[in-house]
Symmetry: C2
Subunit: 335 residues, 2 copies
């Protein structure tokens, strides 16, 4: 049986292209004792993958060249030599950009219940992006009812959960997103109190003024996915003792400088900035995923997916994601 996979063919100098990836077909080795073969239904595409493409010192090891791209996957067990997993089990894991993965069955796959939660949601609101939102909001922003929280990339897999979770905690929620359609979704379907389309305000001063209008009581918490001029504007609106969860800075992922223009505001407004990587807080995943799973199953947290069809489309979909062309959680459907 053969397996199609996508490997990193070369590292991008600045903006990545599809030429940085290569689709290959390789034969699958027979399973060894204890191993489990998973057929992937969905592959998750996430901004963090951009960082792994570089050979720079970062919090994570770089993606090795000519090896299967890293990535979260959901699928079903199609062959098992492990008593803990049966054919047909639905599982989530880090199977990578390929049709099949071979799991040790130790801690690399986890069985999930799709009775009330669709399988793909385990890559989104009830998976890594959801946990990212949960950790940053609950553990760094420390939400208080009545406070104002701001989140950018608000319609995305992480931002959409941040805002809905904050509403459930009684906060006033302002989103920042790119485009009229995304903002309408964020307000009308996800229930944010307001949303600013940053593309409508290319001038930083105009963007700041628009942000001011929708944050009359300032901003107490901010969940940062973008960085750059958006973060600079938000900082000017932060109230004393505000908290900023630094989750991503996608505006700088291709190497462009993204200076913070007025770091003295950290002092003047007594702000707390804290960067985090959700995979370093695995101890909290059971608690967070249980809460998120309850909200998703009961419809209190909604989500939207952009689904590309077939492994061959993964590279272009990933590049589109980095430019914000996706709408909601970006997945690749593999079966």
């Amino acid at each position: 049986m053969n397996n199609q996979r996508i490997v990193l063919a070369s590292r991008p100098a600045a903006e990545p292209t599809t030429a940085n990836f290569r689709l290959e077909e390789v034969a699958l080795a027979p399973l060894e004792d204890g191993q489990v073969r998973v057929k992937h239904h969905y592959l998750s595409l996430d901004p963090y993958m951009r960082g792994r493409m570089n050979d720079a010192k970062s919090y994570a090891q770089p993606q090795p060249l000519n090896e299967t791209m890293i990535g979260g996957t959901v699928g079903e067990v199609v062959e098992s030599r492990n008593a803990k997993f049966a054919v047909g089990d639905k599982v989530v894991g880090m199977g990578g950009w390929q049709q099949y993965s071979t799991a040790s069955g130790q801690a690399d796959i986890r069985r999930v219940d799709t009775t009330h939660i669709p399988l793909s949601a385990y890559l989104g609101s009830v998976g890594m992006p959801g946990m990212t939102a949960w950790y940053g909001l609950m553990k760094i922003c420390e939400p208080k009812a009545g406070e104002t929280v701001c989140v950018d990339a608000a319609s995305g897999a992480v931002g959409s959960v941040v805002g809905q979770l904050a509403k459930l905690k009684g906060m006033h929620v302002v989103g920042i997103a790119g485009g009229v359609e995304k903002c309408a979704y964020v307000k009308n379907e996800l229930g944010f109190d307001d949303c600013i389309d940053y593309k409508a305000f290319p001038d930083p001063k105009a963007f700041y003024n628009a942000l001011k209008v929708v944050t009359p009581r300032g901003i107490d918490c901010h969940f940062e996915n973008v960085g750059g001029t958006i973060m600079d504007a938000v900082m000017l609106r932060m109230n004393a003792f505000g908290r900023v969860a630094m989750c991503g800075m996608i505006s700088g992922y291709n190497g462009a400088p993204i200076p913070m223009m007025a770091p003295q505001l950290i002092l003047q407004s007594r702000l707390k900035f804290e960067g985090f990587i959700v995979s370093e807080h695995m101890d909290l995943w059971p608690q967070g995923l249980a809460e998120l799973g309850g909200y998703v199953a009961s419809g209190k947290i909604k989500f939207r997916e952009s689904i590309a069809d077939g492994l061959a489309n993964a590279p272009q979909s990933f590049l589109d994601l980095l430019k914000g062309k996706n709408f909601g959680k970006q997945l690749v459907k593999l079966v």
Copy 2:
């Protein structure tokens, strides 16, 4: 009886000058019931005063024009209509840039014990600067024995306490100071493990390289008094989960932009930045001052003072302080 005082005559457009201040002589009103007259022995000069000279929105009210400049003072009670204070009592308070102040005796002056601690130290290591060091180090940096801490303005009133306190907590301590003499003092007299003279490395890259040499295991905690290129270099040396106490950014006090060049390091290294104002944490002062007082009385925390003579010299001494021309805690001797 007359009282000499210095008022803020005008607000500086950028760098302040002595023309922004005015020396006046006014008659003292007779005491009312409950009031206490304090004759100041020493006036404290501190960088925060620069911020008060501006009319900008900040954490504190601006210093009003034509009123006595704000400032910490120590002195003795020379007249009292308050049963809680007797003539001869040594007290600390915010008496301002003047020879005498009239206290309500409620919470605006505090009696101090000069048996084992010199009076002037209550404006330094056992006063606001000491508490600033204590709070930032203990509550934000959360020192752990064996970790490396960095502090700039290291020979100053705050930095010198940060470093000595960190040594007492078992840390590896690296200072940054301006000039060979200050660095020698920091290492040889205060017992820091190392000190970099930033004036010897005007090129940011050279400064970074020098910092790298003295921080072979990276930096876990940083106490920031300066900002700008120094902070940028320190950030590049910060280890994962590092903590930065944002206490001051004197490099930007005259309005020059001091962007943080690589805020993505907050994310990549999962750093925590936290700004603070020590006067907002009065509940911790008894604990902090008790610890600091013990160390000062026993000689475990040493300090050095730059003492200007006479009120008329306060403005020039203050301007010199902003340029780092002082050496240790800057005071003005008034009697």
